[in-house]
């Protein structure tokens, strides 16, 4: 997929880094200028935690979900949900950029296409990380989720891997789609299975075999498992496997995203 060509040798590395910084910085500036985007992104997971968490939690016997109360059990799943929905839809912005000529301003820049893609992906991931940090603070204060220094760092690592993977997936879909409606349709087909079949909302140990198989092949399940392992000490697959799958997922999505971005049609 990535072909070697002699132009790669002529890469002006400092210039590529400045370009990367510029594209990342733009995403961040735009994100900060629209507080509604941040507020909207926080409200939804909070509603899940408060309403869904309390509602379903009321009929679950204490200890039934591996010793934790249901809200705490749900918390890592909601972090993953925030990443999934927020980051995938970040790809929508590339379609909106296509509709005006803003994307051309970037595409005509004397930069490698991969640099442009990474700048975008990092920008989207940074937006997502800001949302997650706010949720983690709220979780620690209001939902009794405990973080140690180590669990916090590991949470960041797991979240960042997932952010990079899902943002890249969103950008890949955005690069090939031409209309926001098409993007919405495709991403719904992708995002809901990834979310519901990840164990974000329920433990995966007692599922019927057919469902267990589907959950096992869903890469997002390993992010959920890793987070639960780090935050609550509950694991199903083991951290090593969780990290291996998460890293592989991120790498594959970055490669796919770069490939799609290079073939973007204006």
């Amino acid at each position: 997929m990535i072909r070697f060509n002699k132009n790669m040798l002529k890469l002006n590395i400092p210039q590529e880094i400045r370009g990367l910084y510029a594209i990342w910085y733009r995403e961040l500036l735009v994100f900060m200028r629209e507080p509604s985007r941040l507020v909207g992104a926080i409200i939804q997971p909070l509603l899940w935690l408060i309403i869904f968490g309390t509602g379903l939690g009321s009929i679950i016997e204490p200890g039934a979900v591996s010793g934790a109360n249901y809200q705490q059990f749900l918390f890592p799943g909601i972090l993953v949900m925030t990443v999934l929905f927020g980051s995938l839809f970040f790809g929508l912005y590339i379609i909106l950029d296509k509709r005006i000529d803003f994307l051309k301003e970037v595409l005509v820049a004397p930069l490698n296409k991969s640099t442009m893609f990474f700048g975008k992906a990092l920008g989207g991931s940074t937006d997502g990380l800001l949302q997650i940090i706010i949720l983690m603070i709220l979780g620690a204060i209001f939902f009794g989720v405990h973080f140690t220094a180590l669990s916090m760092i590991l949470t960041f690592v797991i979240i960042i891997l997932l952010l990079v993977a899902v943002t890249s997936m969103g950008l890949a879909i955005g690069s090939v789609m031409e209309s926001p409606e098409g993007f919405g349709l495709i991403s719904s087909f992708v995002i809901f299975p990834l979310f519901f079949l990840s164990g974000a909302l329920f433990p995966v140990t007692k599922l019927p075999t057919w469902l267990k198989i589907v959950v096992t092949i869903n890469p997002v399940s390993y992010s959920v498992d890793a987070l639960r392992s780090v935050i609550l000490g509950i694991t199903n697959y083991g951290l090593l496997l969780d990290f291996t799958v998460s890293i592989a997922f991120a790498v594959i999505m970055v490669i796919a995203g770069t490939w799609a971005f290079k073939r973007i049609k204006l």
């Binding site: 733009r26 200028r33 296509k98 005006i100 301003e105 204006l266």
Partner: protein
């Protein structure tokens, strides 16, 4: 020296041929205009030169670099002001210029200086810290013009630079484009479907229709090719035979008291013509316009509207996937 060399360039979108075997050389330092109706292939040609689209066949060299083989070097040589808005609404004018400077490789030590110069050039220094959402259409175009030039490219592409602007803002932008060209060593290639714009700005013009160049000349020579100025005189009994004998008079028509003449250098010869006309009630002298040229070459009027017929930029960009 020619800075751009296009040879037998063809671009097809499935069955539709947007650019049809086009060959062209553009010289260093000139303002070159691609004039033609909407859909003539102007924007497609610029997009190929800017490496945004690959050609179907043929080749193009920009600043000596092949657009297919050395796209990065080509992009280092050019600046582009796009047809549709391409700056970020939520950012200020200065922030837009700053991001451009970073992406387009302006040296760190020169960024502030270049941005200040650019803002001054287009008279937006006092608006630099306002978000672009609050800019008028004309201000936005001016900022985008400064941005296209910010990294001192050898070649600047302007795609329909004044599309959608009101007449006053349009003439205002022409002044800035002229200023940019005279004060700097830069080659400018612009597309337009406004006759007046091509006439006022360009050193040479290629008239393009259905992806082909149908004529290429300076605005002055284009107009000369029509065979002189148009003179209309209201008069009762002119000495038609005497007038027809004059060798600078090319065409004579007399109908219902109105004498229509085509005259070489009418300004110089008008006096002698009037001597043979007798009592003239009213004299009108009208130099030929590019409009007349276009009409003669293509047999049709160019749509000299502001693009509303196509539904504005939103509709056009929605359809752009099929372009």
């Amino acid at each position: 020296m020619s800075l751009i060399e296009i040879k037998n360039l063809t671009k097809k979108f499935e069955a539709f041929t947007a650019v049809d075997d086009l060959s062209l050389e553009i010289n260093e330092g000139e303002i070159f205009g691609l004039l033609g109706p909407n859909g003539a292939g102007k924007t497609t040609t610029l997009s190929i030169l800017a490496t945004l689209l690959p050609p179907t066949t043929g080749s193009a060299l920009v600043n000596g670099f092949d657009v297919v083989k050395h796209p990065t070097q080509v992009r280092r040589s050019i600046g582009f002001v796009f047809q549709d808005p391409s700056s970020d609404d939520l950012l200020t004018g200065r922030e837009n210029l700053y991001l451009h400077a970073l992406m387009y490789g302006v040296k760190d030590s020169e960024i502030d200086k270049k941005i200040d110069e650019g803002l001054k050039l287009v008279d937006l220094t006092d608006k630099q810290n306002i978000r672009m959402r609050k800019y008028s259409g004309g201000m936005r175009r001016r900022l985008e013009l400064a941005r296209g030039f910010l990294h001192s490219p050898k070649i600047l592409f302007l795609d329909e630079p004044t599309l959608g602007l009101d007449p006053q803002a349009r003439e205002n932008l022409w002044v800035y484009i002229k200023k940019l060209s005279t004060e700097n060593k830069i080659t400018i290639i612009l597309t337009t479907h406004y006759m007046e714009e091509a006439d006022k700005l360009c050193d040479r013009i290629a008239i393009i229709d259905h992806g082909k160049i149908i004529a290429l000349d300076t605005p002055t020579d284009f107009k000369k090719s029509l065979g002189g100025d148009l003179v209309a005189i209201k008069t009762k009994n002119p000495e038609l035979s005497e007038i027809e004998k004059m060798d600078y008079v090319r065409q004579v028509r007399y109908k219902d008291g109105l004498l229509s003449l085509t005259v070489n250098d009418a300004g110089i010869h008008l006096q002698k013509i009037l001597e043979k006309v007798g009592d003239a009630e009213n004299v009108e002298l009208h130099p030929p316009t590019l409009h007349d040229v276009f009409l003669k070459l293509t047999g049709k009027h160019i749509r000299d509207d502001s693009g509303e017929g196509e539904g504005g930029w939103m509709t056009r960009s929605m359809n752009s996937g099929n372009r």
